[in-house]
C-alpha cells in the first residue's frame, strides 16, 4: 500500500482552517497559516473549489467552505487524545525548563487548557485543566490566533480587554504581533495578562501542518525573560523542540 498523499493531507488542512470560523480567508492568509507556498495553496484551493468543497467570493476573491461540505460535518483532534500524545514531551519540557507547562486548544473565543504539568519544585499547585485563558493576552492564545486555529470575533468583542498596561488591545498592533509570530514560529507574552508573569508558546501541528493546539510554559517574568524583557533563548529552543516532537507524533511530517 502506498503512503499518505501529501496534497490530500494539505487539502484537509485547508478545509479545517476554513471551517475554523465564519470569516472568509484570502489566498495569502491560507498559505501563511499552513506554512505553504502560495502556488501550492492556490492549486489545492482550485481543486477543492472544483469539487464544491470550497467557494470563492467573486467580489473579494476570498475563500470559504462550500455548501457540499456542510453536510459532511467537521471533526477536530480530540483534546484528550492530544493530551495523551503530548504527555511525555510536556513532562520533559517542564523538567528541563523548570517551569509549568500548559497545552491549549480554542474554545468559543478563548483558550481551553487541556493539559497542565506542574512546575517541578513541589510547591502547592492546582491543576488548571478546563480553565479558559484570553486569546489575545496569553502566549497560547496568540499562537492559536496567529495560525488561524482560533479567531477573535469582532462582533462579540468590540474591544480587546486590557488586563495590564502591556496587553495588546489595538487590533492593528495585535495583527502585527501575530504576523511576527508566524515568522518566528513561537509566541511570547510578557506581562500582558498579569504583571510579573510571562509565557512562551509554540504551535502543535497535525496532518498537513494544520495547527491543532499550542504548548507553552509560563512563570515569573525574571525567569522567562532576560534583563531586557526578552525571552531567554534556551527556553525558546526547549519549547520549539517539544512542539516539534508532539507534531511529529501527530503525523506532521515536515515539522
Amino acid at each position: 500500500m502506498a503512503g499518505p498523499v501529501q496534497s490530500i493531507e494539505r487539502a484537509a488542512a485547508i478545509l479545517r482552517l476554513l471551517a475554523g470560523g465564519p470569516r472568509r480567508l484570502g489566498l495569502g492568509e491560507v498559505a501563511a497559516s499552513l506554512g505553504l507556498a502560495k502556488g501550492t495553496a492556490h492549486g489545492i484551493l482550485r481543486t477543492l473549489q472544483h469539487v464544491d468543497f470550497v467557494e470563492q467570493d467573486e467580489a473579494t476573491g476570498k475563500y470559504q467552505l462550500g455548501a457540499a461540505l456542510l453536510h459532511l460535518g467537521t471533526s477536530y483532534l480530540d483534546v484528550n487524545e492530544l493530551r495523551s500524545r503530548s504527555l511525555n514531551w510536556a513532562d520533559a519540557l517542564a523538567a528541563r525548563s523548570g517551569e509549568s507547562v500548559r497545552l491549549g486548544t480554542p474554545l468559543e473565543g478563548s483558550v481551553l487548557i487541556v493539559h497542565h504539568v506542574f512546575r517541578p519544585d513541589d510547591t502547592f499547585q492546582t491543576l488548571d485543566v478546563g480553565a479558559l485563558l484570553p486569546l489575545h493576552a496569553s502566549s497560547l492564545g496568540k499562537v492559536l490566533l496567529a495560525y488561524g486555529t482560533a479567531i477573535t470575533e469582532p462582533a462579540q468583542q468590540p474591544e480587546l480587554e486590557a488586563y495590564t498596561r502591556h496587553t495588546l488591545v489595538d487590533p492593528r498592533q495585535l495583527a502585527q504581533a501575530l504576523a511576527e509570530i508566524r515568522d518566528l514560529g513561537w509566541a511570547a507574552e510578557v506581562q500582558e495578562m498579569s504583571m510579573g508573569e510571562a509565557g512562551l508558546a509554540a504551535p502543535i501541528r497535525g496532518h498537513g501542518g494544520l495547527v491543532v493546539g499550542a504548548i507553552g510554559l509560563s512563570g515569573p517574568v525574571e525567569r522567562i525573560c532576560d534583563s531586557h524583557n526578552r525571552p531567554r533563548p534556551h527556553l525558546i529552543t526547549l519549547i520549539r523542540e517539544a512542539a516539534r516532537a508532539i507534531s511529529r507524533d501527530l503525523g506532521a511530517t515536515r515539522w
Binding site: D78, V79, N80, E81, R83, S84, R85, L87, N88, D91, A92, A94, A95, R96, H116, V117, F118, P120, D121, D122, Q125, T126, L127, V129
Partner: protein, 504 residues
C-alpha cells in the same frame, strides 16, 4: 567535566528498552526493540530468549549513539524485567532449551489445582508467602521437567541453568558460557515460589517439593549491589542493580517509607505498598513480596494487589464495541454525561483478582435502563478502574499497620484526568503523578546509581521526584459510600457465573 549517566535496561513483556538518565533523574535517551509474542496453543505465551538478547545488543548501542555517549560515560547499569517469565539454557553452549514461558502463560493451571488440594496453600505461604498460581516460575520448571524428556536429569547433572529474564541477560552480559555470572535478585527470586521470604535463600523443602536441583539455580543477591563488570556490549561497565518491573516502579516512585504506595495503570493495574522491614502476611487477598534490598541492609517488604483488567476494559470498549476510536476518547465520551446514570461494569473477563480471587466470576453490566447512553457506559468503564483500586487499597489498609495517605500513579491511563480525579474521589486521598512517567526504568537506574555511588542516598533520589500533577479528593462522603455500595452489589452479581463442568 564529562557528564556521566546511569543506564537502565527494561526487559518488558512486549519490548526491551534501554534508557539513559542524568544526575537529576531526567531521561536523556531511549531505544526500544519489540520482540515477537508466540502463542503456540490457547493459554500458552512464549518469548524467544535469544531474540531478546539480540534486541538488547541493538538497543544499547543505539541509546548511546543517539546522544553521542561512550561506554566510559556510563556510571553503572541496572535491569528491570518482566517478572516470573522462565527460561532454561545450556550451561556450556548458552543455547536456550526451548522458548521462555511468559508470566501470562496458563499451561500450569491443572498443576495449581493439584497443589491447592495437596499440600494446600498453607504449606507454600509459610515458606514463600505465595499461594500457588500459574504466574510463578517453579510451576513452569516442574511443567518442563514433566514434558521434556531427560531435562530433569540434565539439570541434576548441572548442565542446565534456570533464570528469569534479568538472570539470562546478566549471564550473557558478563560472559555467557565463558564464566558469566549466574545471579538473580531478591525481588525476582521472591516470585519463583522457591525462595524463603524470611531467610531470602532458596528453601530446601520447596526445592525438594518441586524437584528443582540446586545447581540450576542462580545465586540470590541484593537488588542494589555491585554484581560484576559487563564483558559483552558494555565492556568494563558495572552491573549494579536488578529488580522485577513492579518493584522497580515502586523504587522509581521513591516509595521508600512504610505506608507509601504506587499504582501502575496499564492493561492491568499493579498496586504495591511499602510495608518496611516487616513481612506482612495478607489476610485480605494480597500477595506478600520483597520490595527491594539495598546492599547488606534489611530487606524492604511490600504488599501487592494486582487488578487484571483496567486499561484492557477501555481497549475492549474501543476494539470490540467500537464506541471510541482511540483510548483517550473514553474521557471525551464520559464527559458528555454528568454521572454513570446508575450503570456499573464489573470487568471480570477472566475472573476477579485481588482481593477477591474468584475464577468463577465473569463480567457484568448492571443497572441498564432505557435512559443509559454510551456516555454512561464510558463513565462506568472508567469508574470500574477507580473502584477496583479502592478495593485493593481497602485490603492493604486492613492488612497493614500504616494507612495509605496518598497514591503515586504512573502508566498510560494517568493521562485521563477524569479517571485520576475519580480515583482520588473514591480513595479519599490525593493522587499524584510524577514528572518522569518511565518509573520502571527510573527505578532500575536509581538502584544501580545508588549502588555505584552515582547518587549518595535515598534522600537525593526523593528530591529528584517531582509532582507533575495532583488530584485532590472532592466527592461528597455520602455519595462515595452509596456509590461504593452499588459497586459492591454489582461485584456480587458477577460471582459464581462460571459453573464447574458437570462430571459425566
Amino acid at each position: 567535566m564529562v557528564e556521566r549517566y546511569v543506564m537502565s535496561i527494561d526487559q518488558g513483556t512486549n519490548s526491551t528498552r534501554c534508557i539513559l538518565f542524568d544526575h537529576r533523574g531526567r531521561l536523556v535517551s531511549v531505544a526500544q526493540k519489540p520482540h515477537q509474542q508466540h502463542f503456540p496453543r490457547p493459554g500458552w505465551v512464549e518469548h524467544d530468549a535469544l531474540e531478546i538478547w539480540h534486541n538488547l545488543q541493538r538497543a544499547v548501542p543505539e541509546a548511546l549513539s543517539d546522544v553521542g555517549v561512550g561506554t566510559d560515560q556510563v556510571a553503572a547499569v541496572g535491569l528491570a524485567n518482566q517478572r516470573e517469565t522462565t527460561v532454561l539454557w545450556d550451561r556450556r553452549t548458552g543455547a536456550p532449551l526451548g522458548r521462555a514461558i511468559v508470566w501470562q502463560d496458563t499451561r500450569t493451571a491443572p498443576l495449581v489445582e493439584d497443589l491447592l488440594q495437596r499440600p494446600g496453600e498453607e504449606f507454600f505461604e509459610e515458606r514463600c508467602s505465595l499461594p500457588p498460581s500459574t504466574y510463578f516460575s517453579a510451576l513452569r520448571v516442574r511443567w518442563l521437567f514433566d514434558h521434556v524428556k531427560g531435562l530433569q536429569e540434565r539439570a541434576q547433572d548441572g548442565e542446565v541453568l534456570f533464570g528469569t529474564m534479568e538472570t539470562w541477560l546478566i549471564w550473557n552480559l558478563t560472559g555467557g558460557a565463558d564464566g558469566g555470572l549466574h545471579i538473580t535478585d531478591v525481588t525476582n527470586a521472591s516470585r519463583t515460589m522457591l525462595m524463603n521470604t524470611r531467610t531470602l535463600t532458596w528453601d530446601g523443602e520447596l526445592l525438594e517439593f518441586f524437584g528443582v536441583p540446586r545447581p540450576m539455580l542462580p545465586e540470590i543477591r541484593s537488588s542494589a549491589e555491585t554484581y560484576g563488570e559487563a564483558r559483552a556490549l558494555l565492556p568494563g561497565v558495572l552491573i549494579t542493580a536488578a529488580l522485577g518491573d513492579q518493584q522497580a516502579a515502586l523504587f522509581g516512585q521513591t516509595c521508600f517509607s512504610p505506608g507509601e504506595a504506587k499504582c501502575t495503570y496499564g492493561t492491568g493495574g499493579f498496586l504495591l505498598l511499602n510495608t518496611g522491614n516487616e513481612l506482612v502476611r495478607s489476610r485480605h487477598g494480597l500477595l506478600t513480596t520483597i520490595g527491594y534490598k539495598i546492599g547488606d541492609q534489611q530487606p524492604v517488604y511490600a504488599l501487592e494487589g494486582s487488578i487484571a483488567v483496567t486499561g484492557a476494559l477501555v481497549q475492549w470498549f474501543r476494539d470490540r464495541l467500537g464506541m471510541i476510536s482511540s483510548a483517550a476518547e473514553i474521557e471525551t465520551l464520559a464527559r458528555t454525561v454528568e454521572d454513570n446514570g446508575g450503570c456499573y461494569i464489573v470487568p471480570a473477563f477472566s475472573g476477579l483478582f485481588a482481593p477477591h480471587w474468584r475464577s468463577d466470576a465473569r463480567g457484568v453490566i448492571v443497572g441498564l435502563t432505557s435512559y443509559i447512553t454510551k456516555g454512561h457506559l464510558a463513565r462506568a468503564v472508567l469508574e470500574a478502574t477507580g473502584w477496583q483500586t479502592r478495593e485493593v487499597v481497602d485490603a492493604m489498609n486492613a492488612d497493614s499497620s500504616v494507612a495509605i495517605e496518598q497514591l503515586k500513579v504512573d502508566g498510560g491511563m494517568t493521562a485521563d484526568n477524569l479517571l485520576m480525579q475519580f480515583v482520588a474521589d473514591v480513595l479519599d486521598v490525593p493522587v499524584v503523578r510524577p514528572m518522569v512517567a518511565e518509573t520502571v526504568s527510573l527505578g532500575a537506574a536509581y538502584a544501580a546509581g545508588l549502588a555505584a555511588g552515582y547518587w549518595p542516598d535515598l534522600e537525593v533520589l526523593r528530591r529528584n521526584w517531582h509532582r507533575a500533577a495532583q488530584w485532590l479528593p472532592d466527592m461528597d462522603p455520602a455519595l462515595r459510600e452509596s456509590e461504593y455500595d452499588n459497586w459492591k452489589r454489582a461485584v456480587e452479581r458477577s460471582l459464581g457465573w462460571v459453573r464447574a463442568p458437570e462430571s459425566s
